[in-house]
Amino acid sequence: MALLQIIGASKRFGAVTAVDRVSLSIERGEFFALLGPSGCGKTTLLRLIAGFETPNEGRIVIDGADVTAVPPYARPVNMMFQSYALFPHLDVAGNIAFGLKQEGMARPRRAARVEEMLALVQMTGFAKRRPHELSGGQKQRVALARALAKMPKLLLLDEPLAALDRKLREETRLELTGIQERVGTTFLVVTHDQEEALGLASRIAVMNRGQLVQIGTPADIYERPGSRLVADFVGAVNLFDGTLVAGVDRLALQVAGIEAPLPLLASRDVAVGSAAALAVRPEKMRLSSARPEGFALPVTIVSVGYQGGHSTVHLTTTSGRSLRAHLPSEASLGLARGTTVWVSWSPPDAVVLTE
């Protein structure tokens, strides 16, 4: 049975519907990410699960028990706050022990658990520090240790890496995955950062305007987005909007400004004449100076941006449409601005979107 079940939950603030009839199941041991732009309702959904907000409709079931009306202090979930929310009047040990003390755990056991938690987040020796004496990364670790100390069934993490600088974020991301594997707790992380969601989670739900748009593994979400919105929000993408037409032996997409219809592999029922979009990831784009066999578009190179391992090449079609391609840096060495090349991709790499 699923650890967390959200059944048709809605939350309105005045005229604004922050969470709109969301249903979601999360299994035990999952590392689940709620991904969406800011204001999409993901934080409200998290607060509904934690108990800080009560849904206007729907139910929240944790481990088989309906907790919709249960106050936050009686729910078997803990939360790591975006601001960390460490108690400034308590030292690190006091912060980690706070929840255990509320539970009425005896002092020696409490001290042992605090040590265990400090070791888990590699902060042994910091027990007596006050929060204001810690760096951002250290605060983040203490906040994680505090939220894990009570061994919750479900740990909620609100933008856990947002307050860290880029290098630290990479390290912490790895650590967070490691810790989750070691403790085995179910993690539910809320983020607006698609890289973070793809790198952390075993499953992702993309949220927009209060609704879940797509749920799937990171590869599902990235390789097979179900809508223009998901394709556009998760990672960079080249989108071609057009009308479906009958091609030589299969369907193709007629796009304004591009002479030949774009070939495609329709994976689901789509009708000739209906509007659709084709999504091609920049790293799936191939560039060649000679016209390759089969389908290809003539384009002009606008700029080549060297980014270490790979380069981003900005292109423009004859009708002025902008495209981008990611190439290994050594492959982009010979490319000069203003030259005309051919861009192509293999049809299975292009995703047909009808929404």
């Binding site: 108990g51 800080f52 202090y73 979930v77 803990n78 939360m79 706050f81 601001s83 108690f87 400034p88």
Partner: protein
Amino acid sequence: MTGMGAGLRRFLIGLPFVWLGVFFLLPLAIVAAISFAESADAIPPFKLDWTLANYRALCTGCLSVYTSSLALAALATVLCLLTGYPVAFAIARAPGVWRQLLLFLVMLPFWTSFLIRVYAWIAILQPSGLINRVLLASGLIEQPLPLLYNAFSVTLGLVYSYLPFMILPLYGSLSRLDESLIEAAADLGAPPRRVFLDVILPLSLPGVAAGCLLVFIPAIGEFVIPDLLGGPGTLMVGKMLWQEFFDNVDWPAAAAIAMALIVLLTLPLLVAQRFLEREVRRDRAP
């Protein structure tokens, strides 16, 4: 910095110090000197000397006045804290527009003279006053209650007058309280009572300390309230000082009373300052 600028700067910084020196330090030194003088039938009514007689008299004669003053001021402070804390808490948690209005209401009494507001209490508390008349008319009592000219009316007057000085600093520290700390405490299993005791109360202690000081220190030296609302049984230091100075024309005794009070009040101030400085350092840290 030009010579002129430096001179001007020195002048501007120096002015308040000169002011304090002439109108505060110097008079204080004079009072201190008089407290060691001998009372005399002259103008001014003392003879400079270095005697401890005034302080000795203070220890033997007026110790009870100090203790009753301390007790009354302490009681008023505790009552102000108990009534002021919920008010400050409610204001700090009220929605934006309400917050401004409620704060305004707390400060509204300052628009009327303090003296007039204390006089108004006489009209309310006296035997033929508002409260007694209502109670008599309703038949709840047959004799007017002795509400005025006793410890009750003095305490009431002190609490009434000093309550805003408790509410404002409490509001200051409660309104700065990060909402996510309260949520974090609840999330970690603390029911509302424990959230208050383990998080809100400790984090509002600087406000509690500041409010208590702002009430306790002026309350202990208060003269007008015990003079207008107090009876013969409620002698407070301020009133005793007045009597020694004006009624008995014993300047050295009055000066000794004042000096003893200053010393008595400096101690809690120093302790509180230490505490507040530590809190401020913690708050300002990144």
